[in-house]
């Protein structure tokens, strides 16, 4: 494990960027889903990725988290220890160990497990005990489980769900599932959290809670967030910088107020006025 990561390290320790996407392209059977896209995220920043339906936002996410392998381009990620890694060389399940974690558009909660166990799943990459020591419940395995459990309970309290800890995840409403999934990302010692439409399907007050949480995360967990969202109020409300894309290409990139005023972005969302 250690060697594979070691191999992917490039000399870029002084960088303040947590994620640097350059010239990213991927196509599916002739259709260019993402076309020469570049952007970068600073440490502690909340970054928004917006665009109309089918613009390729989720594809960008899947490329960053290595669920898809991009055809071209590089994705550099700087972990908390200051080392920079080329993500495209890693399999999907190793990305989280560097501190890059994601949520899913339609929530991927394990319904069979309790709320607490779902959060502990987020800590999977932090566990070091092996299968045999788990089976015999060796002291070190038990200690680790206990420590992680305490940490998960802390996160549950942070997101306001501590009373649901032992409840079945299957019995929870959609808004709670969204929160569980968000909480799950906090247990891997994250540097960057990628949120795929975190507010989809949430009501007004749930969205407000979530906005406060996302804003709080960069402060309390010292990590950045990359957000794809349709709810413009949420995006404009929490993001420091925004990248707007359409048909896989970048329309505009800049601070939030700049994007709000940008004519190309307005065209893409509202349709071009016939002259």
């Amino acid at each position: 494990m250690a060697e594979t990561i070691e191999k992917n390290v490039t000399e870029n320790a002084a960088s303040e960027k947590v994620l640097k996407v350059s010239n990213l392209s991927i196509s599916f059977g002739g259709l260019k889903a993402v076309d020469d896209l570049s952007f970068s995220i600073d440490r502690g920043q909340i970054y928004g990725l917006i665009g109309p339906n089918g613009a390729g936002k989720t594809t960008v996410f899947n490329c960053i988290t290595q669920f898809y392998k991009p055809d071209e381009g590089s994705i550099l990620f700087t972990a908390k220890d200051g080392r920079t890694h080329e993500l495209t060389r890693l399999p999907a399940h190793k990305v989280i160990r560097l501190g890059l974690v994601r949520t899913f558009q339609n929530t991927e909660i394990i319904r069979e497990l309790s709320v607490l166990d779902n959060l502990l799943l987020g800590a999977h990459s932090q566990f070091t005990s092996g299968v045999v020591s788990d089976m015999f419940r060796m002291p070190w395995a038990r200690r680790q489980e206990k420590a992680m459990r305490a940490q998960a309970l802390e996160v549950l309290e942070y997101i306001g769900l501590q009373r649901l800890a032992e409840e079945s995840a299957a019995a929870q409403p959609y808004g709670v599932l969204k929160l569980i999934e968000f909480g799950r990302t906090l247990l891997c010692n994250p540097s960057l959290i990628i949120l795929d439409e975190p507010a989809a399907g949430l009501n007004e007050s749930e969205t407000q809670t979530l906005m406060a949480l996302i804003r709080g995360v960069s402060r309390d967990y010292h990590c950045s967030a990359l957000v794809v969202e349709h709810d413009m109020r949420l995006v404009m409300g929490i993001c420091d910088r925004i990248c707007a894309i359409s048909f896989g290409r970048m329309l505009a990139e800049g601070v939030t107020s700049y994007i709000q005023q940008h004519p190309a972005v307005q065209d893409a969302y509202l349709g071009k006025e016939e002259a």
Partner: protein, 337 residues
């Protein structure tokens, strides 16, 4: 009472020990026939294999129709090593269990690329190939005429049938505890996550490759232990035992008992192995050939129709129904007053 309920009745270790104690009734109390003990031995070796198979099917969501052949493999290895080679039982046990473990790892490596029906067919083929090898390699397995084994020899003393049975029950209880530990650890959570959503699992850092291998390896290991138990308890092994039918039995056992529960495979083994024999010994029904097997089949279908989660959930179901009934009663009373 509350403290008692919380610390004693809910204590999993005590529950498993209690199961073991119940299984020991036929050797502790007199009046049970030898054939009953043979039947119970059959239940125990199936329970051991089922406990491992449950890690594969119930917790990881993978299927295999080749596990019967793994049981056979360890049975033959153990019979050969203790018989022909004269190895001590402990050492031969180790080798006999290691063989299906390694073959299981190999099958797991193949299984990583397959899912659902394809996995079922591939494992079926794998198991059948092993079984054909059992038939062909008659210097090792005795071919069609089978191979003989003796009760285990421990520290120079040959165990009796009863002692062998006790040993099997002890093993069963230990293995239940190990699986209980496993499924309540981060490994267990990873297996369950993999079964429910491979995407979520991968995003959380769970290597699908690693955990499929883990599931196959553990279930094969348990199948191996079960095979050793079989051959040294029945003292005979022939290729007609290790067919895909036995693998199907394992599936039925886990599903009927309770998929993804520790007690499920044990209850399943009792029902699948015990029910036909129980019906056979009842008057009238048992006297017509074929009827006991038919009836147990029908019973199983009925169970699955009304209790698709498995027999182990029946007490919980009854408790829930009772509570609902009491609530309704109270509500009606409230209305009346």
């Amino acid at each position: 009472m509350d403290v008692f309920q919380k610390h004693v009745l809910r204590n999993k270790y005590l529950q498993y020990l209690l199961v073991g104690a119940l299984f020991l009734i036929p050797v502790i109390f007199p009046g049970f026939s030898t054939s009953f003990l043979t039947l119970m031995g059959g239940v125990v070796y199936l329970a051991i294999a089922g406990t491992g198979y449950n890690v594969l099917l119930g917790y990881s969501g993978q299927i295999s129709l080749g596990h019967a052949a793994f049981m056979g493999l360890s049975a033959y290895v153990s019979a050969y090593l203790t018989g022909e080679m004269g190895l001590p039982f402990g050492l031969s046990f180790l080798f006999a269990v290691l063989a299906p473990f390694l073959v299981g790892l190999l099958l797991g490596a193949i299984a990583v690329r397959l899912q659902g029906f394809y996995l079922a067919i591939a494992t079926l083929g794998f198991g059948e190939i092993l079984r054909l090898i059992f038939i062909e390699m008659d210097w090792f397995t005795g071919g069609f005429s089978g191979s003989q084994a003796k009760y285990p020899m421990i520290f120079g003393a040959r165990l009796t049938k009863e002692q062998t049975y006790i040993g099997m029950v002890v093993l069963m209880v230990l293995l239940m505890m190990l699986v209980y530990h496993l499924v309540n650890s981060h490994t267990g959570r990873a297996l369950i996550a993999m079964k429910n959503s491979q995407h979520a699992a991968q995003a959380m850092g769970i290597s699908i490759f690693k955990y499929k291998l883990v599931a196959f390896a553990i279930s094969s290991l348990f199948a191996g232990i079960s095979g050793v138990c079989y051959v040294h308890f029945i003292r005979y092994s022939d290729p007609t035992v290790w067919t895909a039918m036995l693998s199907l039995n394992l599936i039925a056992q886990v599903v009927v008992g309770g998929n993804g529960t520790i007690g499920g495979p044990i209850i399943g083994a009792l029902v699948i192995r015990g029910l036909p024999d129980l019906l056979k010994s009842t008057p009238i029904i048992g006297e017509i050939a074929g009827i006991p097997v038919l009836l147990s089949g029908v019973l199983m279908i009925v169970v699955l129709m009304f209790y698709s989660k498995g027999l182990i959930f029946i007490p919980a179901g009854i408790r829930l129904a009772l509570r609902k009934h009491i609530l309704r009663r109270e509500r009606e009373k409230g209305k009346g007053a």
